[in-house]
């Protein structure tokens, strides 16, 4: 912009020679046009000149001792000759286009300078007027040329408010653009550096961080607390059941060991000599050996063994178990002999844990049997089965096999009875149907295990192998029960912890 100013100023200055030289030759030409006679001589000082107007008197001459020419009052009354400067001023004032052009040039320069902050402390009109008149080329000679100069510069004065406004707006827009660019660059830099920037933090304070879990309401916390309280209470019941089951399994295992010791002369001697604990330990060791032996032989020979009569005693015991646990329940129900006796036994408190556990299972099964109302339909089949069992108990091996066969088919029938399509026919809810189905499943398990015994006894060493398999089953029960109790304990603690957590949060939240 300064360059433009310089150029404008230079242009204005260049215009001066275009004006002044135009004037000087005009003056000299006017003088040159004067006649050149033989000359005049001053009577006072003797100075001579070819042109009387240009006569220069000597100092001390009474007709004019100064060096400056003086107009001759006698030649022209309105424009006295002898003052060329005044002549030039007059001519200049008469040449209107020249000050007009100067006004245009200096008006333009003033406009630009004013826009760029010039003329501080002066109003726009005053500075415009002063600048044009001060820079008028002949101003120093008294020729103001003010009217034409101001006229030439007037458009720039009129234009000034508009250009000033536009300039202010432009400066504002430019400033905003610059600041926006700086802001974008700053945000880009911060983002590039991975620094969270304030607007994001303000948003996070308002709406939370994206990875922040939303805070639940008090109602939700209370519901969670209630949910885990129920879970904990349920799990405490489960824990009690699993504890009872583990104790029952341990008692059954010990009872089996006692039975084994009672039937083994060597272990009897140990019992007499070293006590029960030593006998139990030795019995367990012996059964482990049977189990290991059976496992190894089973791997080698598979199940190519003949049925040996030695299994009778074990089979009879298993038959009796099935009769009592499964079929006996239905027969008792059908005959109207309800489970009062079992309840009385349970209430007496004289039963072992294992017996109590079994009796509770039987009572629940009896309840299911009554609820499913399947007894009447199966009564005659069961009665027939019962007859077969009686024959089997009397030693009829064929009858025993027949009873097993019938048992298998009847159990399949029971399982079919509680299929979903049948559930509606006996007016059961889903949970009741699930409960009844589980009860029947348990009966099926009992029957199937006895049938499994028939296969197990087809071994080379039936007695030892039977003992090994029973020992394996007892150990499995024991292991399972202990594991179930452990898991129930862990879960109970977990639910209790979550209950405490949500209870505290619900209490602390508003």
């Amino acid at each position: 912009m300064n360059r433009f100013l310089c150029a404008a100023s230079l242009l204005a200055l260049l215009s001066l020679p275009a004006v002044a030289p135009g004037l000087v030759p005009a003056a000299t030409a006017a003088a040159a046009e004067a006649p050149d006679p033989s000359g005049v001589e001053c009577a006072g000082c003797g100075a001579t000149s070819s042109n009387p107007r240009n006569l220069r008197h000597r100092p001390g001459c009474p007709y004019g001792g100064d060096s400056s020419p003086r107009p001759d009052p006698g030649t022209d009354r309105e424009r006295p000759p002898g003052d060329p400067a005044k002549e030039a001023d007059f001519l200049l004032s008469m040449l209107a286009p020249l000050p007009l052009a100067g006004g245009v040039a200096f008006g333009g320069i003033w406009h630009v300078k004013r826009l760029f902050g010039g003329f501080k402390g002066k109003s726009a009109i005053r500075s415009w007027s002063d600048y044009i008149t001060e820079h008028y080329p002949m101003g120093a000679r008294g020729a103001s040329g003010g009217f034409w100069g101001r006229l030439g510069g007037l458009p720039f004065l009129v234009l000034y408010p508009f250009t000033w406004t536009l300039g202010q707006v432009g400066i504002g827009v430019g400033w905003c653009g610059m600041k926006t660019g700086e802001g974008v660059a700053w945000l880009g830099k911060k983002t590039w550096q991975g620094i969270t920037w304030p607007p994001k933090q303000v948003y996070y304070a308002f709406a939370g961080r994206p990875d922040e879990k939303p805070r639940p309401t008090k109602r939700q916390l209370e519901l969670a607390d209630f949910n885990f309280r129920q879970l904990r209470q349920e799990e405490e019941k489960v824990l009690a059941e699993t504890r009872a089951a583990r104790q029952a399994a341990a008692e059954k295992r010990e009872a089996f060991l006692d039975e084994f010791i009672a039937g083994d002369p060597d272990l009897q001697k140990t019992l007499a000599a070293e006590g029960r604990e030593a006998a139990l330990a030795r019995a367990a060791k012996k059964l482990d050996a049977y189990l290991h032996s059976y496992r190894e032989r089973a791997k080698i020979r598979g199940d190519q063994q003949a049925l040996v009569q030695e299994m009778d005693r074990t089979i009879s015991k298993a038959d009796q178990q099935l009769f009592e646990d499964g079929v006996g329940i239905f027969l008792d129900q059908a005959a109207g002999r309800l489970t009062k006796g079992w309840n009385d036994q349970l209430d007496s408190g004289k039963l072992t844990r294992a017996a109590s556990h079994d009796l509770r299972l039987k009572l629940r099964l009896a309840d299911v049997a009554q609820k499913t109302k399947a007894i009447q339909d199966e009564y005659y089949d069961l009665k027939d089965l019962g007859e077969s069992f009686k024959k089997a108990e009397a030693g009829d091996h064929e009858a025993r096999l027949e009873a097993h066969e019938k048992t298998g088919r009847i159990i399949i029938g029971w399982l079919d009875n509680v299929a979903p399509a049948k559930a509606g026919t006996v007016a059961l809810t889903t949970m009741d149907a699930a409960y009844a189905a589980t009860a029947h499943l348990m009966l099926g398990n009992v029957a199937s295990n006895i049938r499994g015994d028939m296969v197990r006894f087809q071994t080379a060493r039936p007695h030892e192998d039977a003992l090994a398999q029973r020992w394996s089953t007892f150990q499995s029960y024991d292991k399972f029960a202990a594991n179930a109790e452990r898991i129930a304990g862990i879960r109970r603690d977990q639910w209790a912890e979550l209950e405490k957590k949500y209870s505290g949060e619900a209490g602390g939240s508003k």
Binding site: R364, M442, S448
Partner: protein, 158 residues
Amino acid sequence: MNRLLSSLLAAGLVLTAAAASGCGRKPPTDAEFGLPDTSEQARAAREGALFEGVEAMMAFRREQLRASVEKSAPNYAPIRDRLAKAVARLRPAPGGMPAPQLEACLEPLETALAAMDQVIAAGKTGDPLEAAEGWALFDQSAETLFMMLKPSGVEKRQ
């Protein structure tokens, strides 16, 4: 001018308070929070899944009995899949809270599934003892499940 400045200051304070209080944060929905669905439909679905699990267990035992009576090879694979699906339906959604009562039934169903796997694996290797242990685990799972269930109208004797 003063009034304008006061208004701007008050608006700024209100906005700051709104931001600081976090009033833009939405609480999670019940499902997002993980609460179990307590609607009748969901309850019926869970009970249905439980019944399907029990039914699969029965079918497992029935298949063993059928194979034993008919002296044929048992086919446990589809039954095992049924139980696995029932267990998956009964499990709470990932990140969700378990529902009471049926949550207790889930564990015996899972152990029954493990028992099934053991029986199936033993059947493939021909190890009768391994199979017997699997069946023992299965029986115990059934017994535990039986004790966990609380049918309506049948009082549980403690």
